[in-house]
């Protein structure tokens, strides 16, 4: 057995829910510079299942919230992302990517047309660099970092009913839409989105009101607190990328299977960093692709596991892998050469020196249950 987890040192930042997490008995770990709950006493398996069956409350306040305002904000943001931001209707949300000149991915983010501004949510570990990137490239746009705001995610099939009681109107939001709503009397910005594959909401709220709202949500017997451990197993089963693992500066949007985030107009017009590589890969196909992989036995394949073809030659690497509680077995995703990316292809996973049989499969591993409205 290994030594104990790294103790949470005093240099870590804390979210507005820190005291609540500790009171709930969370195991706190360092994550992206913050002390974050990796699990509560129920444990990762139960937290995962609860989210799929009822509703889970996640503290994602470490993520970066940014507002862009100015009449040209959408057009300006398109200089940095391949997503069709100008076509985003008021109240609608879109997933997109900050790309670099080589066509790699600097971060993935959500953009919502919030009426008089664009509301962005970026990854915690990238937020300062993303902010600097925006400031360097978006002239004439007012950029407001709202890194002090809290962000709560309520995810699962009961999320809609729970939210309907505290935030009338939230139930009418379709998947990938957002609105300024009062939640339990507090002004919030609510989106119908998440990172679990389930129906749910993300609630942006002032830091000093966040703990009270979290407690109000947790007072509902349908809601339990969920840590980063289950957040990871839920998103993996949903086939969603984790930045820094499944996508990074060495992976292109096309290799990553994210061509769906690039509209016809943006494909034709380009005008974002790395557009030439994206166009070339759209035309001729990338040399490797992100795929789902199901080990055929029970051994989980972790990040870094080599993927071999049936003859034993290396054809790729696992970027996320573990046990899928809803699937009831190991699940993984990773990059393999394009010739091996077809679902059904038999591959091998080199786990602790032993090749083990596995198969390329379509994702998600657990069906998405979004509220399409």
């Amino acid at each position: 057995m290994p030594a104990d987890p790294i103790p949470v040192d005093q240099d870590l930042l804390t979210t507005p829910l820190d005291a609540l997490h500790r009171r709930l008995g969370a195991k706190m770990v360092p994550f992206a510079g913050y002390a974050m709950p990796v699990q509560y006493p129920a444990g990762v398996l139960q937290e995962h299942q609860w989210t799929r069956q009822s509703a889970g409350l996640f503290d994602v306040s470490h993520m970066g919230q940014v507002r862009l305002s100015g009449s040209n904000a959408a057009e300006a943001l398109e200089r940095l992302v391949p997503g069709d931001i100008q076509a985003l209707a008021p109240g609608r949300q879109r997933y997109t990517l900050f790309t670099n000149d080589a066509g790699g991915i600097l971060d993935d983010l959500m953009v919502t047309h919030a009426g008089d501004h664009l509301y962005l949510v970026v990854n915690a570990a990238c937020k300062h660099q993303d902010l600097a990137h925006l400031q360097a490239h978006l002239e004439g746009v007012t950029i407001t970092a709202a890194f002090d705001r809290a962000l709560l995610a309520l995810q699962g099939p009961e999320a809609k009913a729970v939210m309907a009681e505290l935030a009338p109107g939230s139930e009418a939001l379709p998947f990938m839409a957002g609105a300024a709503l009062s939640v339990a009397g507090e002004p919030c910005f609510v989106t119908r989105s998440g990172y679990t594959g389930e129906d749910g909401f993300e609630i942006s709220i002032a830091a000093d009101a966040a703990a009270a709202l979290a407690e109000r949500l947790l007072a509902d017997p349908r809601v339990k607190p969920i840590g980063l451990g289950a957040r990871d197993s839920l998103r993996l089963e949903a086939g969603l990328c984790l930045y820094g693992h499944d996508i990074d500066t060495t992976t292109s949007p096309i290799e990553a299977g994210l061509a769906w985030t690039i509209s016809k107009r943006r494909r034709a017009e380009g005008g974002y960093p790395g557009a030439a590589r994206v166009a070339a890969e759209l035309a001729s196909g990338p040399t490797r692709r992100r795929v789902g992989i199901r080990p055929e036995d029970k051994a989980p394949a972790r990040e870094g596991t080599q993927v071999l073809d049936s003859a034993g030659a290396t054809i790729g690497t696992i970027t996320s892998g573990g046990f899928g509680p809803t699937v009831g077995g190991p699940v993984a995703m990773g990059y393999v050469t394009a010739a091996h990316a077809t679902p059904g292809t038999e591959v091998q996973l080199l786990i602790r020196g032993t090749p083990r049989p596995a198969r390329v499969v379509p994702m998600p591993f657990a069906p998405h249950r979004y509220h399409r409205g």
Binding site: M1, V38, L45, G229, K298, P300, G322, F323, P325
Partner: protein, 123 residues
């Protein structure tokens, strides 16, 4: 005789045969165990060497042999019911039985009282 390692393995010794597992503390730190790989019969192990693998939802951890010896059997029940490690770590959740080749090494391990004190120190 029951002894404990600083890496949170236990070994129950009966004559020259030891049964090895991980402690209640270790399983509580790991969380839900979803996969266990135990060593095959006949495998020669040295004290401190990787002997088995235990995986939670989140991560894989090595289990070390507390003594030198030869594996007599791995606990086959753990392949279908890895949760035995959480439910009964000191009993049904054992990992492997080993023929101890150097009994003198047992003296370097902790007894129950010393292990309890060690856990106190860890907080």
């Amino acid at each position: 005789m029951l002894k404990f390692s600083k890496d949170h393995e236990w070994i129950r010794v009966d004559g020259s045969v030891g049964t090895v597992g991980i402690t209640a503390y270790a399983q509580s730190q790991l969380g839900d165990v979803v996969f266990v790989e135990v060593p095959a019969a006949g495998k020669a192990l040295q004290a401190g060497q990787d002997a088995a693998v235990v995986e939670s939802v989140k991560a894989a951890s090595d289990v070390y042999s507390p003594v030198d010896g030869t594996v007599i059997e791995g606990n086959g029940a753990l392949s279908d019911t890895p949760e035995l490690v959480n439910e009964d770590p000191m009993g049904e959740g054992w990992f492997f039985r080993i023929s101890i080749s150097n009994p003198g090494q047992l003296g370097a391990l902790m007894d129950e009282e010393a292990y309890a004190a060690y856990l106190e120190e860890l907080g």
